[in-house]
Amino acid sequence: MTANTHRETSMSTYEPRITNAAPRQSIAYTRSSVIGLPSQMSTTAATAASLRVPPSAASAAAAVAVPRSLTEELEKIEQSITLTLQEIDQNFSTSHRIITSSILPIVEQYALQSQAVWRSSKFWKEFFESSANVSLAGYEELNNEEPANDIEQSQATEYSATMDYDYSHADMQTPRETTRAVQEPQQVNISVGVTDDMDDSSFVTYVNNKYNHVQSKLDEPRREGFSKYKYEDGEDDLETERSIAFMKSLHLDDQSTPRGVDYRSDIMNDTGDREKGKKTQPHAMQWANMVSPYEEMRSELENRQIDSFETSDSISLRPDFRNNYAKEDQTSELSQPNAQPQLSRLTEARTPERRHVNRQQENSTSDGNSSFVLRTPESSPFSPFVGSNRPRPYGGQQSVLLHRVLDKKWGIQVTPKRPSPSKASQLPKYGRPAGNMATPANAPTNYASRFSSSPLDSPPVPHINSTIFSSPER
């Protein structure tokens, strides 16, 4: 019924045309005649008619013109609609043609060139990976929509490695690298950083372990620590035992033993008191309960981070120096740029003094819950966005993503390389066989061989004269 009525109405609408029985040309002709446009047939007649038109005829013509104008208007509108649709069709086809013909090939060429660029630069990524002894597994998309708690649980591995090459020392140039574990208790994040400061005659090796915290005493003079570490009595068997103990302590499979090894005096005191001349047995290290300034800063950052994290629903990578310490929560956030300068100031204040990074031990015995962060000054190729123009998705938060592409946030997944336990000659900190290290041809001392940090292309470790530390004084 409705269709019929609609059809009838439509019919009625177009009835004038039908009843008019005039094709478009005729309509146009008629329209032109009414409007006054020149036409072939009635030019003279029109002029004659215009001269002789009586008022009644003019009024009649006007009366006839009114409905015709409506029709004509309708016709005009219909034609304009048709024309517009044609233009729309043309535009769409043009855009499709442009995209298919020119844009896609150019983008494909860009992709090829980008692949070539990556192939060329891949070496340096492997270089950084090897120096940090980690493997950058790729990018993991950070889900925006998950709530913070879910993010903490679901985000598996976000990890960032930092490297700091200290070339300021003329004599001892060893890379100082730190890695910071971010998440996942299942993932073992181990990184060893070595700060070799021969000017201070101290050499500290610190191990980052996710499950252990190692606290170093900044107040202790390095020389003492070094001397204490150095086996002055020259007992090779004890030194070997210590080295073996250290190696074992760094065994990745064994997570029940403390991994942090600090060769400062506290370790010496804890590990059987080398001074006492006893044969030391590797046992659980006891750490002094000191609140280091670093720890204070970390706690401050954590508080700030917690406050910001609660308000945010995004995930981001946590900066190395902020993260991981005790957090079983697997979240990671990148520090805000606001926080970065503060931390940078702190870190830079430490760097010239070559203070060791404070390490705080939460569990002397790893229970799988403690996390460990070794933070170096923000000298890290992996520390993101310090001073960089990274987009800040959330203004109030302290997190900056590693990569943000449109609506996706990407974090990098870093897994440390597991050192081979069978290789006893490996340096503990890098888990790298000695053969891979750029050590000098002259045989270094045990101390140097054990703690010389040499990535593939680091400067060779200078020979250390062990006789210096053979003095009986402690």
Binding site: M11, I81, I88, L104, W118, S121, Y139, S379, P381
Partner: protein
């Protein structure tokens, strides 16, 4: 009687729909290619960040000691 305008417009709309579908597929392909390119470029971006940090570290270390920087 069918409206002739309507017929023409319907035909035009059909063409438009066809063109839009093809355009949509082309844009999807373009988006995928760009996504791939961007994903592969993230590694390069990461590397650039590493070098940036390294340069900053070296600069800081040199400045903290006897810096050798004297621009030519």
């Amino acid at each position: 009687m069918e409206n002739p305008h309507e017929q023409v417009q319907n035909a035009l709309l059909a063409r438009i729909i066809t063109n839009v579908e093809k355009l949509n597929e082309a844009i999807i392909v373009l988006n995928r290619v760009l996504q791939d390119v961007n994903r592969e470029n993230m590694n390069v971006e990461l590397l650039s960040q590493m070098w940036e940090n390294y340069q900053r570290n070296v600069l800081f270390n040199l400045e903290s000691t006897d810096s050798l920087e004297k621009p030519v």
